[in-house]
Symmetry: C2
C-alpha cells in the first residue's frame, strides 16, 4: 500500500502519543529525536538521532517523508523555509508556526485580526516597563474596559521573553518598579514582552484542528487548571461555561487557525476574566496538554486529528463520548519508581486510563497523565486527581 | 523507571495492536518478527528478525524480556518449556497453550472438565471417518440429544488437522463416505480430528482475560459472522442473546481459562445450536479477531488487558462504552492501493474508526478492520459494513 510517511521532529511525549494514534491509521512514522532514550524514540521503529537545529540533519531526515510535523516549536523558522524550498510539506508551515514561536509576533498579529489579547507591548528595559504600567493605571482611572488587577500604579506587570518559554519558564511577574526581578528578563538577550496581569477567574483552552484545504473541527472548550505555571487538571467541557462565551472562544480559535494558516492541531489558551471576557494567553500549534483528555474522552483524539490534518485527510469527529472527561498530569515526585503505585491505581479503579511516557522520574517533570470519564463530574474529578497524586506520592491512600 | 519489557513472538497485526495498547501503559515492547516488513515490525522500536522455530533465536530474544507472549500459537511447545526452564515467564504457558495448538488435546481436555463440545474423535483414515459418521446417525435415530444436521448416514462430517489450521485452512467438510476429499486430511502427516457438523444458528465468541494470580474479566459475548471460513463481522454484544445462554457462555470461558491455567486473553469460539445449546468450536490464547471491537467499544481493549494480564497487573474494565459496537474486517480486494478509498471512508463517516495493519493488499487477506459504535444497531452495522466493503472495492458508493 502506498500509505504516507509522517516525519515528526522532536521525541517527547507528544510525538509518542502521535505515533500511537498513527498506528491504526496505517501511516508510517519517522522520528527525529535528540536521544534514543526520548519518550517517543522508545516506541517508534524508524528513529533518527540528531539535532533539529542543524539544517543538514533536517534535510537528511526529511528525505523519504511525505510531510514534516512537530513535537515542539523550537525548529528555527529559516530551516523550515529551507525544507519547504526543497519541496517538503511542513505542517504547520513556518509562516503559521512563527506565531507559536514568538509571542511578540503572535500578539501583533492577533491584535491586527481583532482577536482580544491582554494589553501588551514590547519593552526594552525597566523604564519601558514602568511606563507600560503607568499607562495601564491611567486607563483604569479613566474608566476604560481594562479589567486589570486594579492597583493604582499599574503593577503587577507580566514580562515574558518572546521566544523559548514554556510551562512558566521565561515568565516573570513584576510587583512594582522597584521589584529586583524587573531586570531579569532583559539578561537573556531575547526581546521582552510586557503584558497586563489579567484578573482572570479561570483558564480555558479552545482546541481546533485544521487541514490544508481548510476543513476544521473544534473540540469542546475545556477548563485548564494550572499549578505553579504548569497545567495540572483539564476538565472537558469547561463546567458552567456560558454557551455564548464557549461559542465565542471556539469562533476565536477557528478564526486564528484560518487567519494564520494553521495546519494541524491548534491550542488557544485563554483567560476568562472576572468581568466576563475571554482573552488569548498563548498559542500552541501541535497536540497540546489541554487536549490529552480527547485520547479517551472524544470520538477522535487530538493526536489522530493532527495526523489526519497534516496528511490532508478528512478530519474525525471531535465530540466527547460522555458528559465529562478529566485529565490530570502525573508529575514526578520523590519516588523514582512509580511501578507499584501504578499497580495500585489500576487495582483501585479499573476504569482509569493511565498514560505513561517512559520518562525517568524527576521532581515536577511531566511523566504521564491519567484520564477518567463519566456522568458525575465530582466522581470523575476525584478519581483522576487521586490517581495522579498517588502516582506522584502525594497521597498514599 | 523500572517498567517491564514484554517480549512478543510474531510480527502480525495482533502484535501491532498489542504494541499500540502497550504505549500508554509505559511498558517496553520487544518483537521477534519474521521480516522487517511484518505488520508489527513497522511500528515497534526494538525488533529482532528471526525464526521462532529456532530455540537459540528464542533464547537470545528472551534475554532482557520480563515476560514472553505471543501473536500466534505456532511456537513449538518444547521450546516454550525450555524458555521456562531458563527462568523466563511464558504467558500463556506451554501447558495451557497446547490446548490452542492441538485440537485433539483441546477436545479431550474440555470433555474431561465437562465443557460441551461437538461430538468428536481422532480418526486414522477414511474407514474411521465412516464409522464415526455411522455412530452419529445411530445416536440420532436413537433419539439422543445430538442435534447434528440429521441426515440418515451421519454425514456431513468435519475433518480437521489437529495442528496448524486457521481461518478455514486445515478444515474439510466431508459429504459422504465416497466424497473424494475424505483422503485429503490424512496426507499432511498430522493427526486428524473428526467432528459432527453442528447445526448452528450462529457463531458466538466469549472473550475473557485472566492474570497469573487468578483475576479474570469477561467481555460481553459477541456474535461472530463468518464468510468462507473467515471472520467477517462481529457484533458486541450478540443481539437477542438469551441472558441465561450469555451467562452460560461466559461461565464456560471463565471455567476453561481457570482449568487450563490460561494467562492473557482467551477467545472461546462457540456454536449456538438450533436446539438452543452452546458448544465450543475453537480456542485462541491471545488477542483475537472477535475482540477487535473492544479497541473502540470497551473501556479497556483486549490488547490492553492482555498486556496487563501477562504482566500480572490488575485488569481493566471490559464493559462496553455504548449499546452497540460492530467490527468488520477489511479484506484485500482487487485494488492494491486502498488510500483513496480510505480517504473516502473518513469523509463519509467522521465517527468511523479505521485500523489498518500496514500490510500489502492481497485478495482475501486481512489488511485491517473498521469499528463503529452507537445506540442504533442497524445504523452501526450499515456504517461498518459499507466502510469495509468500500475499502475492499466491493461497493463504490
Amino acid at each position: 500500500m502506498t500509505f504516507p510517511v509522517v516525519g515528526m521532529i522532536g521525541g517527547g511525549q507528544l510525538a509518542r502519543m502521535t505515533h500511537e494514534a498513527g498506528i491504526p491509521l496505517g501511516i508510517r512514522f519517522k522520528l527525529l529525536s535528540d536521544t534514543p532514550q526520548d519518550s517517543a524514540a522508545q516506541v517508534v521503529n524508524e528513529v533518527v538521532i540528531g539535532d533539529y537545529r542543524d539544517l543538514d540533519t533536517l534535510r537528511d531526515f526529511a528525505r523519504g517523508c511525505d510531510v514534516i510535523t512537530f513535537d515542539h516549536e523550537h525548529v528555527p523558522t529559516e530551516h523550515l523555509r529551507a525544507l519547504e524550498a526543497d519541496g517538503i510539506p511542513v505542517r504547520p508551515g513556518p509562516d503559521a508556526l512563527v506565531h507559536a514561536q514568538d509571542k511578540g509576533v503572535m500578539r501583533a498579529r492577533l491584535t491586527a485580526i481583532g482577536v482580544a489579547c491582554p494589553r501588551h507591548r514590547i519593552v526594552a528595559g525597566p523604564a519601558d516597563v514602568a511606563a507600560f504600567a503607568a499607562e495601564g493605571a491611567a486607563e483604569r482611572t479613566g474608566g476604560g474596559a481594562g479589567g486589570g488587577s486594579g492597583e493604582g500604579d499599574g503593577f503587577p506587570v507580566v514580562l515574558k521573553t518572546v521566544r523559548g518559554g514554556y510551562d512558566g519558564k521565561g515568565v516573570w511577574v513584576i510587583k512594582g518598579a522597584d521589584d529586583p526581578a524587573i531586570t531579569e528578563p532583559f539578561k537573556a538577550g531575547v526581546e521582552v514582552l510586557a503584558e497586563e496581569k489579567v484578573d482572570f477567574v479561570r483558564e480555558l483552552a479552545a482546541n481546533v484542528v485544521r487541514s490544508p484545504h481548510g476543513q476544521a473541527v473544534a473540540y469542546p472548550v475545556v477548563e485548564s487548571r494550572q499549578v505553579a505555571g504548569v497545567c495540572d487538571t483539564v476538565i472537558a467541557p469547561a463546567p458552567d461555561l456560558d454557551a455564548a462565551l464557549a461559542a465565542e472562544a471556539t469562533e476565536m480559535a477557528l478564526t486564528i487557525a484560518k487567519e494564520l494558516g494553521v495546519v494541524g492541531h491548534l491550542a488557544v489558551e485563554l483567560f476568562q476574566t472576572r468581568d466576563g471576557r475571554i482573552l488569548v494567553n498563548e498559542l500552541a500549534m501541535r497536540p497540546h496538554n489541554s487536549g490529552h483528555w480527547s485520547m479517551d474522552g472524544a470520538v477522535t483524539s487530538q493526536f489522530a486529528n493532527h495526523v489526519r490534518a497534516v496528511l490532508d485527510l478528512p478530519l474525525g469527529d471531535p465530540r466527547p463520548r460522555q458528559p465529562w472527561t478529566v485529565m490530570v498530569n502525573v508529575l514526578g515526585g520523590d519516588y523514582p519508581d512509580m511501578y507499584s503505585a501504578y499497580l495500585h491505581c489500576m487495582a483501585r479503579d479499573p476504569q482509569l486510563k493511565i498514560h505513561m511516557y517512559g520518562k525517568d522520574v524527576k521532581p515536577g517533570r511531566k511523566v504521564g497523565h491519567v484520564n477518567t470519564y463519566g456522568a458525575d463530574l465530582d466522581d470523575v474529578l476525584e478519581r483522576a486527581t487521586h490517581a495522579a497524586h498517588y502516582l506522584r506520592g502525594i497521597v498514599t491512600e
